[in-house]
């Protein structure tokens, strides 16, 4: 049996070199769903930065598409630079063991006192 070649989606070309918004996953999800192959590689070659929010959304999308009963997709992130890897690893770790959120007690003043 021959192994199928994965579909490759160039993320920077499809979206932008800086991936910021959570809602860009809609665009990638649509492109992935249209792919004729089960395996889809998201190519981050020319991506300079990915936000925490977009990383979280992409990891969630990856899991969703893997869990799907029909039109199931295997997503692999390829050519991720060191900073992209840092972000994905940090968000994945936080999903497993959420970081405690901070306490915050600011001093309260009136603008008239400035």
């Amino acid at each position: 049996m021959t192994k199928e070649n994965p579909t490759i989606i160039d993320v920077a070309k499809k979206i932008a070199p800086v991936i910021s918004s959570r809602d860009i996953t809609d665009i990638l999800r649509s492109a992935i769903s249209k792919a004729k192959t089960k395996s889809v590689n998201l190519d981050f070659s020319d991506v300079e930065f990915i936000s925490r929010s977009a990383s979280h959304a992409l990891l969630t999308m990856k899991e969703d598409l893997h869990r799907k009963f029909s039109n199931k997709k295997e997503i692999i992130f390829i050519n991720t630079g060191e900073n992209i890897q840092t972000m994905f690893r940090a968000i994945a770790a936080n999903r497993a063991v959420p970081r405690p959120k901070p306490t915050f007690k600011p001093e309260r003043i009136n603008i008239g006192s400035l």
Binding site: I24, S53, E107
Partner: protein, 284 residues
Amino acid sequence: MEKIIIPQPKNSTLLGQLVSLYNTFKGTKAEQNFEFDLSSLKWTCPLLVLPISAYVNSSNSKISLENCDIKDYLGAINFPQGVDNVPEIQKVIQSSKSYIPISVLKRKDKIERERLESMFASLVYQSLDTQVSGIKNALYYPITELVTNIFEHSKQDTGYIFGQFYPNKNYLDICIVDQGRGLKATYKEDKGLDFSDGNAITEVLKGHSTKPNKERGYGVWTSKKVVCEGLNGHFVLISGSAALVSSKSSDKLIALPDFNWHGVIVAYRIPKPARPFDITPYVE
């Protein structure tokens, strides 16, 4: 149409800009139209100029630049209308190489918005002219987190972003503005929680997300941490009639009586980074 003379800030600090912004909009009512007179300004900063730009663009307000010393600068940054697409920003950059124009981000075209924000972030990074390791991550992190919040929470279709590096003063100012429902209404409408404007800001900084997912709510406080602790900068967040002014050593929640910004304004100032920066401890 009522005229508002924009008061010259008493000093160049973010707090000085905040006071000037407060005095500009103090006593105004939502959806009023004004003529904003900028003739008193000898210089300005993003925290003052961007909210006025957003206000003018979303109303029938006007600006008056007669006898204004900074008329050329305001023209170079495309004040008040800004630019809303990549070809236009490229055109503006070619004609005024020193300044990044005001960028107007629109919800409807996600890819154009993402590309415009990408270009803005890249221009800000280039303006710093630095090779210090990790600085791109440090700059991009708060920009991306704070802009994405506009389109996730504000229920507004437009967001504004503007930045300026001051080479003589060696610092960078960034401002991000929306005219959406604001933090207080977001908690009320999404979670049924009644907070004052000040308490809504405090909840955001505690990482209290309005989304049910426990993995959410990290964007604002981690961005403030990058700015204040990582880059030794100053951070301002305004919503409704309250403002947070933070630095590495203090957090002040300021009541703004007789003032109400419908939406959220975030501004921060960072000195030009001289040391390598590692984003890892801020995102883990």
